[in-house]
């Protein structure tokens, strides 16, 4: 009996590994399909024309750039944070050819995401959106775990040189709220259902291309006027 025991263990592990992998794959596929269906339903429910989003949007780069990259992001989403340095590098490499637009899409599942979006918008009202944007992503391992995330945002506001009293007022203002709602509506009208989602010249970048080679291929295709895959 003991002679067969190792083979029985190996067989059991093989079955568990294959079965577990298949089950995980199936569950992920189902989740993706459900998300796509929800996005399609949201897009259908939204008005037939695309919503414009917050106006004016937060833009970094040349107004004459051949390529516009629009990001729907959530400051508490880890893949968004992982993507942030990748996008910074692409901005450096493509220089005047690229204009980046950031859209707020804070997800309800993240505890401080909405407050972080408010903080960035409040900084934007004083002309420092991108500094706050970069600080929030750079410190994304710190403030989500802080007992009072708002205090951290106020510290960042001070470090950027904002008028702190105005920043605090603006964070709770209707103007900031309206901008976030407008960006969310634009996202919903485009079928955005998660973060990060990128559009390059109004074409959505597939989720499996959200990496340096995939983004460069999409950027090059958009810059050269070719349809990206």
């Amino acid at each position: 009996m003991r002679r067969y025991l190792p083979f029985a263990i190996i067989g059991a592990v093989f079955l568990i590994a294959v079965g577990g992998g298949a089950l995980l794959f199936h569950m992920k596929q189902q989740r993706i399909a459900a998300a796509r269906a929800a996005a399609a339903a949201a897009a259908a429910k939204a008005s037939s024309s695309r919503k414009v989003g917050a106006d004016p949007p937060h833009v970094r780069g040349s107004t004459k750039a051949a390529v516009t990259l629009e990001e729907f992001g959530d400051f508490e989403c880890r893949p968004c944070g992982d993507l942030s340095p990748v996008l910074e590098k692409i901005e450096q490499d493509y220089g005047a050819d690229l204009r980046v637009v950031f859209r707020q899409f804070p997800l309800a599942m993240h505890r401080h995401a909405l407050e972080a979006a408010r903080a960035s918008e409040a900084a934007g009202l004083q002309g420092h959106f991108w500094e706050m944007h970069d600080l929030l992503y750079r410190n994304r391992f710190i403030w989500p775990g802080a007992p009072a995330a708002r205090k951290a945002f106020e510290d960042y506001a001070k470090s950027v040189g904002l008028d702190l009293e105005r920043f605090k007022r603006d964070m709770d203002s209707e103007q900031v709220n309206a901008r976030i709602v407008a960006d969310r509506q634009r996202g919903a009208s485009l079928g955005v259902d998660r973060t990060p989602v990128l559009f390059i010249n109004n074409r959505q970048v597939p989720a499996n291309s959200l990496n340096p080679p995939g983004l460069r291929a999409a950027m090059d295709a958009a810059r050269d006027g070719k349809p990206s895959e």
């Binding site: 003991r2 190792p6 263990i9 190996i10 592990v13 992982d82 990748v86 499996n208 990496n211 340096p212």
Partner: protein, 165 residues
């Protein structure tokens, strides 16, 4: 496999019966190291399966500790031809698990294959760490976990082999 398993614990005990107690024999037995190696292989296998599924579903796993998952897992080094590198790693870990399990049950002839396999895995791990450090300038949690597992696997297999010889 026609080889008869050898009960390492009993052999060791008999060799040292005059000098050692049964507890000391158990500590010196290579079996415990091969059991540990099998367990480490299972951790590596689970990591590799997760990354393979993420790759096949077109998603990129998010980092928790480090910040370079998108860069590392989306790089050209994450695939071999059309096969995700994680799947190749999974195959390696499963083979290591099989060999370590057999070695733990006394199939001594597989030890040399296990040694060769973990040496190869260790070399690949060093190469992948070098790529992350000097080429991609980014690290990913899952890759570092895999590297740690391979280092632990190599250490335990070497320890088992030393005691076994």
């Amino acid at each position: 496999m026609t080889e008869n398993p050898v009960n390492d614990a009993s052999v060791t005990t008999s060799k040292h019966s005059e000098a050692n107690t049964a507890d000391v024999s158990a500590i010196r037995s290579p079996t415990i190291f091969y059991v540990l190696a099998a367990l480490f292989s299972l951790v590596g296998l689970a990591d590799a399966i997760y990354l393979t599924v993420e790759h096949l579903t077109g998603e990129t796993a998010g980092c928790i500790v480090t910040r370079g998952c998108a860069e590392v897992l989306g790089s050209k080094y994450a695939v071999v031809g059309n096969i995700p590198l994680a799947a190749v790693g999974g195959l390696g870990y499963f083979t290591a698990f099989c060999l370590a399990t057999l070695a733990a049950f006394g199939y001594r002839r597989v030890e040399i294959f296990l040694m060769l396999l973990v040496e190869a895995m260790f070399a690949v791990t060093l190469w992948l760490l070098m790529l992350q450090a000097f080429v991609l300038h980014a690290f990913c949690d899952y890759c570092l976990l895999s590297a740690a597992v391979t280092v632990a696997l190599t250490g335990t297999v070497f320890a088992g082999r030393l005691l076994g010889s």
